[in-house]
Every structure is written in C-alpha cells, then in structure tokens.
Subunit: 399 residues, 2 copies
Amino acid sequence: MLELIAPLVVPNSTKIVLLSLDGLAGLPRPETKRSELETARLPHLHALAAESACGLIIHVAPGITPGSGPGHLGLFGYDPLRYRVGRGVLEALGIEFDLRPGDVAARGNFCTVDDRGLITDRRAGRIPTDVCVRLTDRLRAIRLSGADLFVEPVKEHRFVLVLRGGSLSGRLSETDPQALGTAPLPARPLDPAAAPTADLVNRFVGEARGLLADAAPANMVLLRGFDRLPELPGFPATFGLRAAAVAAYPMYRGLAKLVGMEVLKTGAGFADEMATLRQHWEAYDFFFLHYKDTDKAGEDGDFDGKVAALERLDAFVPEIRALEPDVLVVTGDHASPAVLRGHGWQPVPVLIWSRYCGADPVTTFTERACALGTLGLLPAHHLMPLVLANALRLTKFGA
Amino acid sequence: MLELIAPLVVPNSTKIVLLSLDGLAGLPRPETKRSELETARLPHLHALAAESACGLIIHVAPGITPGSGPGHLGLFGYDPLRYRVGRGVLEALGIEFDLRPGDVAARGNFCTVDDRGLITDRRAGRIPTDVCVRLTDRLRAIRLSGADLFVEPVKEHRFVLVLRGGSLSGRLSETDPQALGTAPLPARPLDPAAAPTADLVNRFVGEARGLLADAAPANMVLLRGFDRLPELPGFPATFGLRAAAVAAYPMYRGLAKLVGMEVLKTGAGFADEMATLRQHWEAYDFFFLHYKDTDKAGEDGDFDGKVAALERLDAFVPEIRALEPDVLVVTGDHASPAVLRGHGWQPVPVLIWSRYCGADPVTTFTERACALGTLGLLPAHHLMPLVLANALRLTKFGA
C-alpha cells in the first residue's frame, strides 16, 4: 500500500486533522442495549457524521484485539502485520525515550533472587518508583565495549534497557524464565547474527548482578521483549505531509515519533492539546490529535465515565471545525468497551469529512450506524490513502 | 492467519457451537422475489440474528462456488486456497475411510472396454452398488510390494483407491482420458519423486485389468484425482479447543476428522445430533454441528423443500440456546439455491451471538438483511478468530 501511494502523492496546501479517540468503540450495556456512543449526547459528532463518509475500521484482522502500537500504526497507514513493534520498543516509546534506528530495546524487571541465585519474586515486591530510579542510576555505571547502554526507569519494578551502536540484533531469547525457584536464563541468540548482542546483554546482566548485590529485594534483573526499532518508511516523506502529533501521553507521542512526525509540546488536558493545535495550525499539513479519556474509562469498566468522556470531546468538535481543516477524520485505535474492561476486537467507527467525501446514508456516529456507511469495513491502513484522496493530494493510478 | 492466531490463544472454559446449515444461502424465486430464507417462517433464527453480529461469508473468493471440502475448511479457519484437498482425498473422507498422513487416495470408476481395450462406457453402465462392492472385493486380492492397498466401494460405479506406506506422492496424471474410443492412460509422475508411486498405480491397474476380464460391463478401472492427505495444522492445538463434530453424513465427519476434531457417534437425523450434542456438552469446548437437509433440497431444486428444511431447523434453535453456549455461530458452507439446483457462489449469511458481539443493525437472518451487518463481507477463514474473540479466548496483538 505504501509503495502504491508514495508515487501518487502530489503537494498542495490542504490541512488534515486525524482525531484519534483512544478506545473509541464500545459495546451495548446489557440493561439498555445501547453502546457508549449510542448513550452519549453527541450533537456535534452526529452532525459531522451526517456530512461525512462513514464506516468501520479493522486494525489488524477480524477478531484480533489491537494493542495501542498496532492500533495507531494502522491509522498512520502502516499494515500492523507487516510492521511489528516489539514489547521492548513499545516500552521505550512509552517513556518517550529517543530510540534511534538500529537500537535494541528490552523491557526490564527488577527481581529478587535468594543466596543461590534463584528467583523468589519476579517483581521485587513492586518496589516504589523512586527506588527504581535510584537503582537504574546505579546500573548506568555499567560500560560495555561495543555498545552504548541506556537504562531508564519506568514505574515500580519496571525499567527499559536500550543498546545502541554496531550492528545489534533483537533476535534474543528472554532472560525471564517466568517462574520462581529457578535462576534467570542467559540471553541466547535466536539466529547466528545475534550472538554478539546476546554476549553484550549477558555481560550487562552479570555486572548488574554485582551492582545490585546489596539492593534486596531488587537484587537482580530480568529482561524480555528484545526488539530492534523497526525500520518504517517515514510518514512525512511517504505521504508528502508536514505532520505533527498533538498528544499528551508518552506512548502516543512515541508512536508518532516512530513514524517521523514532529511531536509538539503540549499540556496534559485536551483543552491544552486544542491550544497547541491552534498555535501550530499554519506550520503543518497534517495533525494527529489524540484523546485519551475514552480509553481510560473503557479500561476501568466505567460505562458512564466513557459516555462522559465522549460528551466532553464532543464539545470540542466545533473548535476543531472552526479551524476549517480540508479533511477531518474521527476514529480510534481500537475498541475499549466498558463491559470488557480492556481493549476489544470490535471494529471502530470512522468518519471522513471533506468537500469530496460523497453522499453517505449515515447520520449518527455510532457502531451500528457506521456499519451502513460507504466506507464499509475498512482495514486501518487503507485509511490514509482515503484521507489523502479527500485532500486532493493523490493523482490517478494509471493513465 | 493461523500463525497469527495460535500465539494469541488463551484457555478458558467457554463453550462454542458452530452450526453449519449446509448450502444455507439461496436465491429469490422469480415469482415472489424472495429467497428460501426470506420465504421461511424462522422466528427463532430471526430473533437470534437481532441479538447477534451479522454478515455474509465468502468461502473461497467472489464468484467461486465452493465444494463441501473448501466450504467447511474455511469455516474451520483454514484458507481453502492455501489448504487444498484433492478429489481422491475428499472421496475417501466421504466414505469415512481412516486416511492417515502420507496416504495417497484416488477416485476410481469401473468402466467398460472393448476387446481392443478402448473405452466404450466410462461408468460401466452405472452398475448397481452391490456389484461395485463385489468387484472391489475382488481387487483387494492385489498385492503390491512397497505399499499397502485399500480398495473401497462408494456408490454405483465409483470406488476409492488408497495407497499407504513408504514415501508416496500424489503428483500423478490421471488414467481417465475422459473420452470414449481411446485406451485408459498410464499414470505418469508429474514430478520425478512421484515415479515410484506411478509405477505402483500402473501395476495395480494392470492386475485389475486381469482380475476384471470376465466382469463386463465393469471390466476395467479409471483413476483420477490422485492426492495425498494434506498436512493441516490441527484445529484443537491451533485454537486451543477440545473440539467435537456432530454430523451424521460421512463427508462432514471426514472433514472434521481431517482437522483433528473428535467425531462423535450420532444418529441419522438432526434430533439425534441434538441428543449427541447434549450428551457430550460437558466434555468439549467447541462443537461443529452439521445440518444437511438445506443442501439436499437446494441441490434437488426443491424451493419449498428447502424452506421446510429451514423451518424444521429453526424449531431446534431454542434447544441449542437452552444449553447456554457462550458463543453461537450460525452459517453454512456454501450456497445451494434451489433455482440453481446445485452449489452456488453467493455469499452465505452468518451470525455470531455472544455477550460481546456488539450492536448490529440486522434483525432478520436473510441474505439481504445480513448484507448490512457489522461483520461485513467476511472471508470464511476469518470467522474462527472472531469466534475465539467472542469467547474471550484471544489476548491482544501488540502491547
């Protein structure tokens, strides 16, 4: 798809807003048989849907529940089955670590081992985050010939390890045996080219063991989810867009950075994000605007909270439209139905508004209504070509 | 798809019923412009559809009429274009022959040759089945060094030949020239590794010619559709399901066995199948429940018969729901429109009911209504991931 699109891109001065309502899609509450979207009062979204082309998005494949990584990569135009982002890389993106091409990242746990070196607690009693910060500081003293090393605290017992330099490989087995009463495993190369990286990791672990000897309960480390930063074709070059991300949460900032968007400094609330959008309106062609509250409420199983989050967002829609984007897209990265208390596999409503989006029968922005839209049931990575087309930024294919 | 799904499977104790109404989809009768599903009185199926996610299934590709093999393999989660089951294997499955990995099967015809050995009747005047049984008995006397041999009667002039042992190949040309006035052809190897198997087959045919010399009109054999039993990833292991098939007809029992389901002993009618389902309800997670009458009426061109078959099935729906499956799927393996008097390429209605199937606008279980459902137009092999998701048996993809 990207290879098809890139040569068709033509420049112009149109402006595009992709509004991602995290965890947008929901499920009916059994008592009312109405979903969060069907329960909320959403005059502006429904009015927008009535003027838009609507449909439902599938991010990975039918029945597959997307994580935030694959969910957003799909919206950005990348097939999430082709461009995979491993656990370590996502963890690094989640703390907005400045990952570079070739870096290998792993998720780390501080853990507890007994005097024979056998694991007694895989999470070191969930040490407080400030202890984690102090101990990662200690591990930064480790020097490895052949690679730079970064150790970054995350939360409680979790940290991120990043190796940089030389030709590193992420094809390593995990050191976490995922069991108690057994010793941490050595990292093994999963293909021959990964042997030097395995060696570096094992030297790091060996030195960490010494440096943490007196730090019980956090007296050892476990590493998993080794992965290299994937090489993605850059979003701005592929789609010919000066692209900016307006997102308060680190994970989404990290994902936008991964594809080469400019990540704008912004405040914590959506009103702050709106101010950031207005402030940079002239400087970019494409804005990825992220709204987190819908997902948070869905993951908490808070149906009413998700309804309220949708209604709060709805009130901002006129402000976005007042900027007069040429294309306005509203969708989400995955479902987070309150009744599931987590991500879901359900397809996610999408609307594309532009002057050229076409006649469409949908007049409300709900799961049920969007099923009848002219966009149909759409793989997420087919959205960007449609968006560019609506911005008149694609020339025809074939003469 | 199978490679994507298997690592995401998580165990739980949910129960799933996949009800396959053979040849489900139909076409409008010209006089009423209503299909079989639109003509039948189906209160229970329509009520179920109103609570379900609905759509239309395409088993192979648009415009392609599926045989029963590809139709059911698709429903079981296998892409029928990737996993092909040859004519000989299907014929063996159709008589519930215990095919084993490595076996090569062919469909055989008894035929008539004249005294110069030229074919005068490719079907030996459709000899009665009891003659077929007697003659296959005679052919069982043949001994081939290097392989075990099985010759099984089917119906009238048809039989199945199975070779077992050593490293056999199904890459053989057919001996049936599909023309009269010409001699049966030798089996030729279609790749070099198949030469020994071709030799075995030709020795069998040579001996058969001698043994049948006095058996006119069935004095010779023709063989076609040579194929090896395909190696399929096992259904129970791939999907993490204790899976049972409840099907009275041999072909569907054979297909279920091919993918590794437990095939339960059952009686000839659907009431017997229901009794079998109830009896084994506790022992399995997944039940493939097969209903044949819809297809039989469709293939006979009996529109009213198909309507009646649908109505008879509808009356059983409450009994299935009374078992309280966590996921109930109703669909079919292909269309058998009465106006076509055979299988058709038309997409087949599907409904998935679960507590998490989502809001969906469809309220009747017909071809026309299901076109508007949230499942959209779905490749058959995408159904199983959706079914597992609805059973909460899949974890998310990517973090």
